[in-house]
């Protein structure tokens, strides 16, 4: 791997190596630019993926070397519902390894639908929310969705449906095999008139770009993939970036500030290395791809006399319009064994309720996905039906009777963007590096709660129609965060109401580009990764053009 000295100014520093950062690294380095990628986490099993553990206990309790997610006890964060509440210790955790969250995610790779880019114009604005149109259209982004699907390796089936985004090209590999939970979706759908589709997944099913297909091990979401079938940044774009000879990935690099000069341009970044020494890496431009939480926190920490409220934040929008994922669902037992622990976590979707429908009496939509039972330890601790005993002979018999007969439906919704829902710096709590902890303030809009309740009811309906022996569904609960955080550095044409322009350039800073889930103007129906990847390919193309044209520091349109 190419090594740069911190004394050497590189063309680009990229902060984060996940869904967006990995793509930016590949596109910029193969275009000939010098690139340093700073990753908070370690290498994981990069290059020796077969060493990823499938041991559930080890995976639940990783030591440092094997940790794939951030550790909330050192990478601290706090949570509160509203400004009136005192924030308490939060459990927010994000992918923290070369490849970021793509190393362990379930792999759902749904595109945003065309109308999701201009819902404010079509559905109408909703009082008290920041629902807004994107500055780009689906048609502009479509080629990059296709590029991402083929370069990353997404399995699926192109289907012509009003509930799916139109695709200019088929998926590179066919969908995962249908499991019993998916087949039961079809049984219900036939009765209820619903549309069942194989879920698009960043898990390849046959050889593609030098990798082999999934072996259906079942230790999937939350685990590293030992056969490299999951199309993470770490087995796709990052190796190409490294092989270009222009890209250095520095692990265990915890960035504390993006630095600027008196003329308001970025000069580089300051980070703590693994030995907790402070290092300054100069760069001609910085690409921030640290996810919606960390990107906003870093901007807010990067204060200077010129940017007293944080970088790229002259309008005060950084951190705002945070959108968490929401849900709702149900579980059921069937007469015969499903064995749904085999194979990928989520294989099949019902998509009819993706669009919002005024007849439901609220704004919102989402996707229903079929799921199996959890891995053995988590199943034993909390997977049984609610009436089953917690211990003793009845508990043991329930384990025997239920385990292979269970399926669940998980529905995926997104919060409406609200100005009051945000990431900022906790005034009291510091992380292990002495930096202000991320504070999340989030309370769903009432329509979001109604939407989740709608999906809870629909899940029960679908499972009953599928012929379940028994069905149960816990109450819906407001979101507390998790993997699918979006918003916080929204994209827009108006510098007064957005953080980056349509090419991801910060309105306030000509050589700062923010490319990740923070840019999303609306949340889609939760799973954001496919859109983040498409945005990254598009952003990189414009950034290469701008850099070649000498436009990194001059400002103006790319």
């Amino acid at each position: 791997m190419r090594q740069y000295s911190p004394q050497e100014e590189v063309d680009f520093v990229i902060i984060g190596s996940g869904a967006a950062g990995g793509i930016m690294a590949k596109q910029l380095s193969t275009a000939g630019f010098s690139v340093v990628v700073l990753e908070q986490g370690g290498w994981g099993k990069y290059g020796h993926e077969r060493d990823y553990t499938k041991d559930e206990l080890l995976n639940r309790n990783p030591n440092l070397e094997d940790r794939l997610m951030s550790n909330p006890s050192t990478q601290r964060n706090t949570f509160r519902r509203t400004d009136r509440d005192e924030a308490t210790a939060g459990r927010h955790s994000y992918g923290c390894v070369v490849g970021g969250g793509t190393v362990t995610y379930g792999g759902s790779s749904w595109r945003h639908l065309p109308w999701e880019f201009n819902e404010a114009s079509t559905v109408g604005t909703i009082a008290g929310t920041g629902l807004a149109d994107w500055p780009i259209t689906y048609e502009e982004l479509e080629p990059y969705y296709t590029q991402a699907e083929w370069e990353m390796g997404i399995s699926g089936q192109r289907i012509d449906s009003p509930f799916l985004a139109p695709m200019s090209r088929e998926y590179p590999v066919p969908p995962v095999p249908m499991k019993s939970s998916g087949a039961l979706f079809h049984v219900a759908a036939a009765k209820l008139g619903l549309t069942v589709v194989p879920g698009p997944l960043a898990i390849i099913t046959q050889a593609h770009n030098g990798r082999m297909g999934c072996v259906n091990c079942g230790m999937c979401s939350g685990f590293g993939c030992h056969v490299k079938a999951r199309s993470s940044s770490a087995v796709t774009v990052i190796p190409i970036a490294v092989e270009s000879g222009n890209c250095e990935v520095r692990v265990r690099s915890y960035v504390r500030e993006i630095t600027t000069n008196n003329s308001g341009q970025v000069t580089g970044v300051t980070y703590f290395n693994a030995q907790e020494q402070e290092v300054f890496q100069p760069a001609k431009a910085v690409v921030l791809s640290a996810n919606a939480g960390e990107s906003a926190r870093l901007l807010l920490m990067s204060k200077s006399s010129r940017f007293p409220d944080g970088l790229a934040n002259s309008n005060g929008v950084v951190g705002k319009y945070l959108m968490l994922g929401g849900g709702g669902g149900a579980s059921a037992l069937f007469e015969h064994p499903l064995n749904d622990y085999k194979g990928v976590v989520s294989g099949t979707g019902i998509v009819d309720y993706v669009p919002s429908d005024p007849n439901r009496g609220f704004y919102g939509g989402g996707r229903m996905t079929s799921r199996g039972y959890a891995t053995p330890i988590s199943y034993g601790l909390g997977g049984l039906s609610p009436d089953a005993p917690r211990w003793g002979a009845g508990y043991k018999q329930a384990l025997r009777d239920e385990s292979r007969h269970k399926m669940s439906i998980s529905c995926f919704t997104s919060q409406l963007p609200l100005e009051t829902n945000r990431v900022d710096l906790d005034p009291n709590v510091k992380d292990e590096w002495g930096l202000p902890a991320m504070r999340i303030t989030s309370q769903s809009h009432p329509d979001d709660i109604k939407n989740m309740e709608f999906f809870r009811q629909k899940s029960i309906e679908v499972l009953e129609a599928a012929g379940a022996k028994s069905v149960w569904a816990g109450p819906v609960r407001d979101s507390t965060g998790g993997a699918h955080n979006r918003g916080t550095c929204r994209m827009g044409n108006d510098p007064n109401t957005s953080v980056v322009d349509r090419y991801h350039r910060a309105h306030d800073v000509p050589n700062l580009f923010i490319v990740d889930g923070s840019n999303l103007v609306t949340g889609g129906r939760n799973h954001p990764t496919m859109t983040i990847q498409a945005l990254a390919f598009r952003a990189a193309e414009h950034l290469v053009r701008a850099a070649r044209g000498g436009d990194l520091s001059a400002g103006g349109g790319a």
Partner: protein, 195 residues
């Protein structure tokens, strides 16, 4: 996991000490160290002495565990050697819970004597009497700790000391091949409405 001739324990200690304290997870364990312990035991062919429990404490814990997952026509927590898993957990990744066990076991004995004055300790009770005692404490943190440890040990990989002969996985019908081919279940091949 490649230890390149070093013991797992020294491998771990070196990799951690080279990195600075902040990177050490707060719950940093040594589940790997526990695994090493099991492997060394297997090599010697001798059952290890309990590392944390006294013999008497181990008996009480095993009696509790086998109430939580009893033995019927198939193996329970006792045959799965869950007590070995818990013992190792308490000297490795869950060493912070040692005092909970010491205190909890002593309270369990007191509760047993209170409810059944002829008994000296929990293991003196009949199966039904034990159940009665546990029902009276099933909301306590100690009971829930033992429940969590028992279930975890029953279903964790056998390299951690419990789930002996994979009896836990057998109960679930869980096949640990980590390589499966469709069809996976009874309904996979149902006629489909679409697609």
């Amino acid at each position: 996991m490649d230890t390149q001739g070093k013991s797992r324990r020294s491998f771990l200690i070196e990799s951690v000490s080279g990195l600075g304290g902040v990177w050490v997870a707060a719950n940093y364990p040594g589940i790997l160290a526990a695994e090493e312990y099991v492997l060394e035991e297997a090599k010697s062919g001798q059952p290890a002495e309990f590392a944390f429990f006294t013999r008497d404490q181990a008996i009480e814990v095993e009696e509790m565990a086998s109430q939580i997952i009893p033995t019927d026509h198939t193996a329970g927590a006792r045959e799965a050697r869950v007590v070995s898993f818990i013992d190792r957990a308490l000297v490795t990744f869950d060493s912070g819970r040692q005092a909970d066990y010491t205190q909890g076991l002593s309270e369990l004995a007191a509760t047993s004597r209170q409810q059944f004055p002829s008994a000296d300790k929990f293991s003196d009770l009949t199966f039904d009497q034990q159940m009665q005692v546990l029902l009276s404490i099933e909301q306590t943190p100690f009971f829930n700790l033992v429940r969590t440890h028992t279930i975890t040990g029953f279903f964790a990989s056998p390299v951690h000391g419990g789930n002996h002969d994979k009896v836990g996985w057998e109960l679930l019908g869980y096949d640990d091949a980590l390589n499966h081919e469709a069809p996976f279940g009874y309904y996979d091949a149902l006629p489909q409405s679409r697609g």
